[in-house]
């Protein structure tokens, strides 16, 4: 059975319907989400004013994420799963691909890297040269590592070892260090701590070629360093007992590797979620707009909804699948 409304009947229905306040409320509520057939407009929640409000809300949330670590340090941070073994494997794999010799893990360079990381946490800086002018070479020389060539790469806020090495490879100056034929040895530090209020993991990579070629770390020494890193207690500093005849520079603490330490709120997940929620909400309303307008034959005098939707889908997909946290220096 089919019923066709004539123009007069239809206008009577509309008239009756308009006299019922509850129906009007329902109509108004529905059109927060669906386009208006009569006004030929998008849903109220897709109006220009609503979009401006979403932008301001995102700005406010980003402001809270900036302000919160200053009030409660460490509550926000970057979760990570970075290990020295993986960093060494990926670094040497890259060198092997470039036809270069593999680097051997050296205990003195490892200690120097740990000291550098601890110094950055202690003095709250993120740079190759500390605020008091200490250079990377000072940490290396402090470990009695006499070198011909030396270099340093830094990274922070990364979630895994592969991304750290990939990020260094994407940067010309870091890549030069990573693929330099002038180095024989390497040292890593992966240390957790709070910097600028955010719980994070700093990665320090130090390269060197000892003046005396006979001093290049042996396979045994490399294994010892790796085992020490693997079995180390979480973020503990183990002080070497001072032995007779040991110079002060040799009494530097041996830092152990920090195991993954997750903050209360992972800032990467939090910001991605905020963007996905707002982008997803607007995207859903745009998709509803396309579907409902087509179904009801609504012709609106607006911009192209499909274009907005397409761009939004691309942006949200990029945020989830392309953007990775982390900065190299």
């Amino acid at each position: 059975m089919m019923s066709v409304l004539t123009g007069k009947k239809k206008s009577n229905i509309v008239k009756d319907w308009r006299q019922q306040p509850k129906s009007i409320e329902k109509f108004q509520f529905v059109h927060h989400f669906l386009p208006h057939p009569e006004q030929q407009k998008r849903a109220t929640l897709l109006s220009n004013r609503a979009i401006v409000i979403y932008c301001l809300a995102m700005l406010l949330i980003a402001g809270v994420f900036r302000f919160l670590p200053k009030v409660v340090p460490g509550v926000l941070g970057y979760a990570s799963d970075i290990t020295v073994k993986d960093l060494l494997t990926y670094t040497n794999a890259r060198r092997k691909d470039a036809g270069l010799s593999e680097l051997r893990l050296n205990s003195a360079l490892t200690s120097a890297a740990h000291q550098k990381a601890e110094d950055m946490f202690k003095d709250q800086y993120w740079a190759h040269i500390s605020p008091d002018g200490t250079e990377p070479w000072d940490f290396i020389l402090g470990q009695n590592y006499d070198y011909i060539y030396a270099g340093e790469n830094l990274a922070k806020n990364f979630s895994n070892s592969k991304d750290v090495v990939e990020a260094w490879m994407k940067s010309t100056s870091h890549k030069e260090n990573l693929l330099s034929p002038n180095y024989d040895e390497i040292g890593f530090a992966v240390v957790n701590g709070v910097i600028e209020g955010y719980e994070t993991t700093l990665v320090v990579q130090m390269f060197g070629r000892p003046r005396n070629a006979a001093q290049v770390a042996s396979v045994y020494e490399e294994q010892t360093v790796l085992e020490k890193e693997a079995t180390a207690a979480v973020s503990e500093r183990v002080e070497l007992p001072a032995t007779e005849g040991t110079s002060e520079s040799l009494q530097q603490p041996v830092y152990t590797q920090a195991l993954p330490e997750n903050p209360a709120l992972d800032v990467t997940v939090a910001t991605k979620t905020v963007s996905a929620v707002f982008g997803g909400f607007v995207g859903t309303l745009l998709a509803l707009d396309v579907w409902y307008s087509k179904r009801k034959g609504i012709h609106k005098f607006t911009g192209h909804t499909v274009a907005h939707l397409g761009i939004l889908v691309l942006v949200v997909a990029s945020i989830w699948f392309v953007l990775t946290p982390g900065i190299v220096l």
Binding site: S171, T271, F301, H304, A307, S318, L323
Partner: protein
């Protein structure tokens, strides 16, 4: 009518090409947040410009439509900036 459809297709092809180029650049520079923030700005501005030119060519450009593209451009930028600034 056919001419209008052709123009429409060309304009959408331009938008798709720009989106593809920006996506590739995004992937290439995925570890450099400063470049990505710059690219986000370029992409947002490009989209606003595309919308305005597209509607001007169609003869349907109004202040309201221009404002709509502007706020969508800002929204796109903020969606990316919220993630990239941390």
């Amino acid at each position: 009518m056919k001419e209008k459809t052709d123009t429409h297709l060309v304009e959408y092809a331009v938008l798709l090409s720009l989106a593809a180029i920006i996506s590739l650049l995004f992937y290439y520079f995925r570890y450099d947040h400063r470049v990505l923030i710059f690219l986000s700005g370029v992409a947002s501005f490009g989209y606003v410009l595309w919308g305005i030119i597209h509607h001007a060519v169609e003869g349907r450009l109004t202040k309201f439509i221009a404002a709509e593209y502007a706020v969508f451009g800002v929204l796109i930028f903020f969606l990316l900036y919220t993630v990239l600034s941390f």
